[in-house]
C-alpha cells in the first residue's frame, strides 16, 4: 500500500462529503455568539473596574475633602489679599495730610479750601496779605513728606488788597518718586 492510497482511504473514512461546508457554516453561526460573549465579558470587566474606581474615589475623597476646602479657602484669602494690595493706592492718612497742610500755613495765610482729588493731587485755595507769603506757603507745602511736584497755579490780587492763591501738589508715598 502506498502513501497516496492511504491518504485517500483516510479522507473517505473521516471526512464525509460536505463536512467542510458544514464546519464552515457552524463557524459562521458560532462567531457572533463568541463575539457577543467576548463583548459581554469586556462590559463586565469595565463595570467591575468602575466599581473599584468608585471605591478608590470614595476613599480618596475622605482624605481630599478637607484639603479641597482648605485650598478653596486659601484661594479666597489670596483673592482678597491681592485685591487689597491692588486698591491700596487709594488709601492714605488723609486726616494727617489735612492737618499738616493747615499747620504748615503761616499766620498771614488763610486757607479757604483743601481738596484731595481722585488723581492723588491736592488743591489748596486761600488768601494772604502778600504774594511772598503765598509763595512761601507753596514752598512749605513742597517740603512736606507726602507731597511731590507742587505748583502755585494762580495768584490774584482782589479788591481789598489781599491775594487769592491756588496751589496744586501731587501726593506721593515716596518723596523721591515725583521730584523734579
Amino acid at each position: 500500500m502506498d502513501l497516496r492510497s492511504l491518504e485517500y482511504k483516510l479522507k473517505d473514512r473521516f471526512i464525509k462529503p460536505g463536512a467542510v461546508k458544514i464546519a464552515f457554516a457552524i463557524m459562521l453561526l458560532l462567531f457572533p455568539l463568541v463575539s457577543l460573549y467576548g463583548l459581554a465579558l469586556y462590559a463586565a470587566s469595565l463595570d467591575k473596574e468602575s466599581i473599584i474606581l468608585k471605591e478608590s474615589i470614595a476613599n480618596l475623597a475622605l482624605a481630599a475633602g478637607p484639603l479641597k476646602a482648605k485650598a478653596e479657602e486659601t484661594e479666597q484669602i489670596m483673592a482678597r489679599a491681592e485685591l487689597e494690595n491692588k486698591l491700596s493706592s487709594h488709601k492714605a492718612p488723609w486726616s494727617l495730610y489735612l492737618q499738616e497742610l493747615q499747620t504748615t500755613a503761616q499766620r498771614n495765610i488763610f486757607i479757604a479750601s483743601i481738596t484731595f482729588n481722585p488723581d492723588r493731587s491736592v488743591e489748596i485755595k486761600g488768601d494772604s496779605n502778600t504774594m511772598q507769603a503765598a509763595a512761601q506757603y507753596k514752598r512749605d507745602i513742597d517740603n512736606l513728606s507726602f507731597t511731590g511736584r507742587t505748583e502755585l497755579t494762580a495768584i490774584t490780587m482782589n479788591s481789598d488788597g489781599h491775594y487769592n492763591f491756588q496751589i496744586k501738589a501731587l501726593i506721593v508715598t515716596e518723596k523721591e518718586v515725583d521730584r523734579d
Binding site: A61, A81, L87, A92
Partner: protein, 159 residues
C-alpha cells in the same frame, strides 16, 4: 441583549471610566499636595480675619452699613448728609459709593476723618473737600467707596 446594545453599553462604560479616572487623578493630586495645601492655608490664617473684615462679601453690606452708622452716630451733630449709592461691579469686586457732608470744628472733622480711615472695612477715598467758612465751623465733603467682594465669594463667619 443584542450586539448593538452591548456596544452602546461598553461605550457608556468607557466614558464613565474616563470620568472616574479623571476624578481619581484629581483627588490623588490633591492628596499628594497635602503638605503644600496645609502650609499655605496655615500661613494665611493669620491674615484671614483682617482680610475678610477689610473686604467682606456683598451680602455683608447691611453689617458694614450698621458699623458705619454706629461710627457716625457718635458725631451725629456734625453729619449733614449721608448718601449711599452708585454701585459699580468690577471684575472681582464691587464698590458702593458713600458721600458724607459734615460740618463741625476743624479738629473734630479731622477726628471723624481719622476714624473713617481706621474703619475696619476697606473704604477707598475718591475725593475729600474741606472748606474753611471763616467762622468756628468748617465743612467737609467726603466721597468714598466701600469695597466688597463680587457676588459668589463666600462670607466669613467668625467663631
Amino acid at each position: 441583549m443584542n450586539g448593538a446594545d452591548l456596544y452602546s453599553e461598553i461605550n457608556e462604560l468607557l466614558i464613565k471610566r474616563g470620568h472616574l479616572r479623571e476624578e481619581q487623578l484629581s483627588l490623588q493630586s490633591t492628596v499628594q499636595d497635602k503638605e503644600e495645601i496645609e502650609k499655605a492655608w496655615s500661613i494665611l490664617q493669620v491674615e484671614k480675619e483682617s482680610l475678610y473684615t477689610a473686604i467682606p462679601s456683598l451680602d455683608e453690606l447691611p453689617l458694614v452699613l450698621g458699623k458705619l452708622e454706629s461710627l457716625l452716630d457718635r458725631h451725629s451733630g456734625a453729619v449733614q448728609l449721608i448718601r449711599i449709592g452708585d454701585t459699580y461691579f468690577e471684575d472681582d469686586y464691587v464698590t458702593v459709593g458713600l458721600t458724607l457732608h459734615l460740618a463741625d470744628q476743624a479738629h473734630q472733622l479731622q477726628g471723624i476723618l481719622q476714624q473713617l480711615e481706621e474703619f475696619p472695612h476697606l473704604a477707598l477715598t475718591d475725593q475729600i473737600l474741606w472748606f474753611n467758612t471763616g467762622g468756628m465751623e468748617s465743612r467737609m465733603e467726603l466721597h468714598l467707596r466701600l469695597v466688597f467682594m463680587a457676588p459668589g465669594y463666600p462670607a466669613f463667619v467668625f467663631e
